[in-house]
Subunit: 220 residues, 2 copies
Amino acid sequence: MHEIAVKTDLLHDNDDAAHHNREHFVEHGVYVFNLMSAPGAGKTTLLERTVDALKERYRIAVIEGDLQTSQDADRIAKHGVKAVQINTGGACHLDARMVHKHLDAVDLADLDILVIENVGNLVCPAEFDLGEHDKIMVLSVTEGHDKPLKYPVMFHVAKAMLVNKIDLIPHTDFDLAKATHDARAYNLDLDVLPLSARTGEGMEAWYRWLEARVAKVRQR
Amino acid sequence: MHEIAVKTDLLHDNDDAAHHNREHFVEHGVYVFNLMSAPGAGKTTLLERTVDALKERYRIAVIEGDLQTSQDADRIAKHGVKAVQINTGGACHLDARMVHKHLDAVDLADLDILVIENVGNLVCPAEFDLGEHDKIMVLSVTEGHDKPLKYPVMFHVAKAMLVNKIDLIPHTDFDLAKATHDARAYNLDLDVLPLSARTGEGMEAWYRWLEARVAKVRQR
């Protein structure tokens, strides 16, 4: 019994903080997504293009999680939106408390969309609720179609899987149908969006997907 | 750093076991849902009617979680399907390991639907993944429409909210629109199904919802 009580308390700890964040997001009507992937899948490039395409229509800010540099926040800030860097000090994922400490810096009252770009890692980020509406994961075709079976928790918790770098499919043995099939084994409702942040292919569908999520938050 | 590492390990513990269960469910093509509610919301009565309505079409088994009695499993077994009781020994929720220990007893190879009825509790069960496809929660109108704001994690993780005992709405001040609105603040895609397991109102819609989920598992 003692062991179970301790485990529950530790889980409560992050969940309580996540809920507190969620209350802030709901209060301000801000749509929040937690963007996750392996290192090098192209999250930041995807965000740069997304910000450029949507910043006239929506007020956007980005919280960048990284072990120690502020390179990603610098890249995003050049596109004219607020970008705040969280250095996790070596931790392999963001947690809800880290995010909470930086919410003042992004000014929720003045936002439509808040993006939280997590640390590049297919394991731990999946297990920590940050209070976001959706977890969205990016799978690069160059990582291979075996990833859903190897990192099932990540594919289980995601609302959408963005399959990035599809311009490189002809140069790989990546099987999109298999990746989709295997990911949906763990997640019956997973939305799958093939795209290339580099060439722009599929990006319009991604913007429309985001618009629908923002509309759902506003409908309320 | 030490604290973070320990927390991650404890989270991994249940998640690993849940994934192991999920692999079994996927392998056998069994649709699995984890049914959760406060004590007395009517989960077992709902299951009795559901089993009666669907047992000719689907092979169904039920795992019942309870602190110490086997009353619920006895009730379900009378309806002609396999029912296995897990006594948590006082723990306020099921965890993935408890479920795993009882999977042999339900014989997944011979099933279409496995129901896991959790301990009556609106807090802890929400935080423990059992490997199920969907978490489904039952809110009784007699509990009041304030529950989504008071137990947000439960409403956040649910795929569907079954609003039970709607035949009693005229005798209460329950506001279905408010309960729905508040629950969707934490869960943009929550399906809401008002019903009465006692009078049968709304039960057909619930059966059709379940059929669609089973079909989605089989489509693969």
